[in-house]
């Protein structure tokens, strides 16, 4: 299939491209930008005037609930939701059931992803067996089967010696670790940021130090072991400062932030709104601004969804008993684009944090429209207003505090390896 995408504003942060031009796709790869290659005849043309054509988005953290919790979501349902949101590559953390700590689970996920065929899934292998934090997992076997990085998901490795050994082993084989900074003892039992809102509502708090103390330990071990590490879902301004300092000192560390942390604060808990129960918790306005500044400065390289679809019952309980997480694939791009309207990032910078930067961190062939790269493409209408509603969510999880929010910028087409995997109904 040869394809011509004509008339769109092509933005490819990886190449520094921002220009109205045509895109040519042949055999699943980008064949040319601007001028058609010699002898190119398109089998199909997509005319997208006044729309943005950019690389397909890469989400560094998305729970697909399969294997283990098909009542919440499946790989098929969530990759369909991803395609509708312009996301073509998803990293799924290893806290599935069973845990991604054997090659068999990796193969199962790849098999289901291939069956669904609407997005690439890159599993993250377990750092410790069963994520229990006691013994290091077979990291090399997992990466050889297709895991792009190693992680203990949201489960803390409380034993510092085990963490040190895991880092040393990963460093030996130049594996990337994706870590969540948290001190188990300081965060254990909490469900909201420890501050004036948790005090008012009588909710058990998670202090800022739960993140910074955990981060400090891990940074010291990274310094000692030299392992490449990426910290996911930062939530505090202080942690951003610490990552910035570590980068300044030459440590091989990067970081991401969930899109919802850039827009919501502890105040959004209102009267126990369980849709805002997330982990790490929504922090203060100062933290939100610190995260935004870190993103603008480049200390935080990536915005991820931290997608966690839930069944309705998971949120229909008293706040402390609800499960944390937001169904977030479909709000990732619009929440990031909102940062452009609010003057936090330029459009190119915003798209870089969803495309070229996650690709760079993972070291994968994606996130760019360079010739020869896979034709994973997101096309969106930057002027179209739309509202997120339960009726139109494709994800099986409807647990989002953004229902009813009006967004600007709507995905109209998504291509995966040159194949159209999503076209909006109104096209």
């Amino acid at each position: 299939m040869r394809l011509r995408i004509s008339g769109g504003r092509v933005i490819d942060p990886a190449q520094g491209v921002d220009k109205v031009q045509d895109v040519y796709v042949a055999e699943g790869k980008i064949a040319a930008l601007g001028k058609a290659p010699d002898g190119f005849t398109a089998d199909r043309e997509i005319v997208v005037r006044h729309q943005v054509v950019c690389p397909g988005l890469i989400d560094l953290c998305a729970r697909l609930r399969e294997p283990g919790q098909p009542h919440k979501a499946t790989i098929a349902s969530e990759t369909a939701a991803a395609a509708s949101a312009g996301i073509t590559t998803l990293c799924c953390p290893p806290d599935t059931d069973p845990v991604i700590d054997t090659p068999a689970v990796v193969e199962l996920i790849h098999h289901r992803a291939a069956q669904a065929g609407t997005a690439r899934i890159l599993p993250l292998g377990a750092l410790t067996k069963g994520l229990a934090g006691n013994e290091i997992a077979e990291m090399m076997a997992l990466t050889e089967t297709g895991c792009v990085a190693i992680s203990n998901a949201g489960r803390p490795v409380t034993n510092t010696l085990v963490m040190r050994r895991a880092m040393e082993y990963a460093a030996t084989h130049d594996l990337l670790l994706i870590l969540r900074a948290q001190d188990y003892w300081l965060s254990h039992g909490g469900c909201a940021h420890e501050g004036k809102v948790s005090t008012r509502l009588g909710l058990p708090g998670i202090p800022e130090s739960a993140e910074t103390a955990g981060l400090a330990r891990d940074l010291l071990l990274i310094e000692q072991t030299g392992v490449r590490a990426h910290f996911g879902q930062l939530s505090t301004a202080r942690a951003v400062q610490m990552i910035g300092r570590a980068q300044h000192d030459g440590l091989p560390v990067s970081a991401d932030v969930s899109a919802h942390q850039l827009h919501l604060t502890e105040m959004d808990l209102g009267h126990f709104d369980s849709a805002c129960h997330v982990s790490p918790p929504l922090r203060t306005l100062r933290d939100r601004d610190g995260l935004r500044k870190g993103l603008a400065d480049g200390v935080i390289a990536v915005v991820c969804s931290d997608h966690q679809p839930h069944d309705p019952d998971a949120k229909l309980l008293p706040f402390t008993e609800t499960e944390p997480g937001i169904s977030a694939l479909e709000s990732l791009l619009p929440l990031t684009l909102r940062l452009v309207d609010e003057g936090v990032l330029s459009l190119t910078e915003a798209l870089a944090r969803l495309t070229s930067q996650p690709a760079r961190i993972l070291g994968i062939e994606a996130g760019s429209l360079a010739i020869g790269k896979p034709a994973d493409i997101c096309i969106y209408d930057p002027d179209r207003y739309w509202a997120l509603s339960a009726a139109t969510l494709i994800s099986h999880g409807h647990n989002t505090p953004f229902l009813g929010w009006e967004f600007k910028g709507r995905v109209t087409h998504t291509l995966l390896g040159g194949r159209l995997v999503y076209v909006t109904d109104s096209q």
């Binding site: 004036k196 948790s198 008012r200 909710l203 708090g205 126990f272 706040f319």
Partner: protein, 334 residues
């Protein structure tokens, strides 16, 4: 989507009673005034009133509390309501029934009011958000969040002894961190215009940024008690000793236990309150608990009248009667 204050109806009248926070001084005063009339009734030979005849009130207790449940039961019975006591932790949830299933079943039995006690903060709000429109919810204590009826009975007791809230200095002493009573007391005192509310505890028993609730923080009991009019002691759960929050009961009593000697720092006419039950020799000396300035047993008596007031107001019994009376007066005038 954010929800507004679900405790009041569009006319500003009480619909649920979940927390003191967000209620107006006039609503609190209305409750106190109504309770005053019920307190007089309680002192009469025949204590029963027909105000809630035909109504069914369910005491839905997800954690055990004999004292609180008994006062709610007695209040409901004095209003002639039918009362159902359900200890949920020992029945349905152990069979895998969800909280919402329990609610739906009780609603199907045409209950009119749920009095809810739950170990998790926000449980009463959750239930109020999901009950049928005709059902009112009263929070009888949820986690560390709120115990608003206890706070109102405390205010009732304070008003009976001190009259004007506008000139008082009140100290709350003890485990503020875990105390739903303290949070509700703080909201009630500040809403009613008490100019100085103090909390006295070590850092380990104070929640983060407690001063944002409008209180002054003290760590020294003697200093904190200086010239106060009211002392509200809190119960200290014994398990706090195991969580590295306190070194020992002995040291706690030494530093924060109320004794005659420490009491001397307060005003001579100070009153001493406690939500009960008291750990004697931990929170206070028996001499203080049983002394002339203690109003602890009065608090228990006032609890019935206050809960009767809240039940009738939430069920719109008195406002509706008042409206009928006003309408009748208007017709006669014409």
């Amino acid at each position: 989507m954010r929800q507004g204050n679900i405790q009041v109806d569009p006319q500003g009248r009480l619909r649920h009673f979940l927390t003191i926070e967000g209620l107006t001084p006039s609503i609190l005063t209305e409750i106190l005034d109504t309770a005053e009339s019920f307190a007089a009734t309680s002192e009469q030979a025949v204590k029963k009133l027909p105000l809630l005849r035909g109504k069914t009130i369910v005491n839905l207790f997800f954690e055990p509390s004999t004292r609180t449940r008994t006062t709610f039961e007695l209040a409901a019975k004095r209003l002639s309501a039918d009362v159902l006591n359900i200890n949920v932790s020992a029945s349905s949830t152990t069979k895998g029934e969800s909280l919402l299933d329990t609610l739906r079943n009780l609603e199907a039995m045409y209950c009119d009011m749920f009095v809810v006690r739950h170990a998790e903060s926000g449980a009463a709000h959750f239930i109020a958000q999901h009950v049928a429109p005709h059902v009112s919810v009263i929070n009888a204590g949820d986690g560390s969040h709120a115990h608003p009826t206890q706070a109102i009975l405390d205010m009732f007791t304070v008003r009976r002894h001190k009259g004007d809230f506008g000139k008082l200095c009140v100290a709350i002493v003890g485990d503020i961190l875990h105390s739903r009573v303290a949070r509700s007391q703080i909201h009630a005192l500040t809403t009613l215009g008490v100019p100085e509310v103090r909390v006295i505890a070590p850092h380990t028993l104070l929640p983060a940024q407690i001063e944002t609730l409008g209180v002054h923080v003290y760590h020294d009991l003697r200093e904190g008690l200086r010239d106060v009019d009211v002392i509200m002691m809190l119960r200290l759960q014994r398990e706090r000793m195991q969580g590295a929050l306190l070194p020992s009961e002995r040291e706690y009593f030494h530093l924060y236990g109320l004794t005659e000697e420490k009491l001397a720092y307060a005003r001579p006419d100070v009153i001493i309150m406690h939500p009960g039950p008291i750990n004697r020799g931990v929170e206070m000396d028996s001499a203080v608990a049983d002394g002339p300035r203690s109003v602890i047993l009065q608090q228990v008596s006032h609890g019935i009248a206050v809960r009767m007031a809240i039940m009738t107001l939430a069920m719109r019994v008195r406002p509706l009667a008042a409206e009928a009376g006003e309408a009748m007066t208007a017709r006669k005038t014409k």
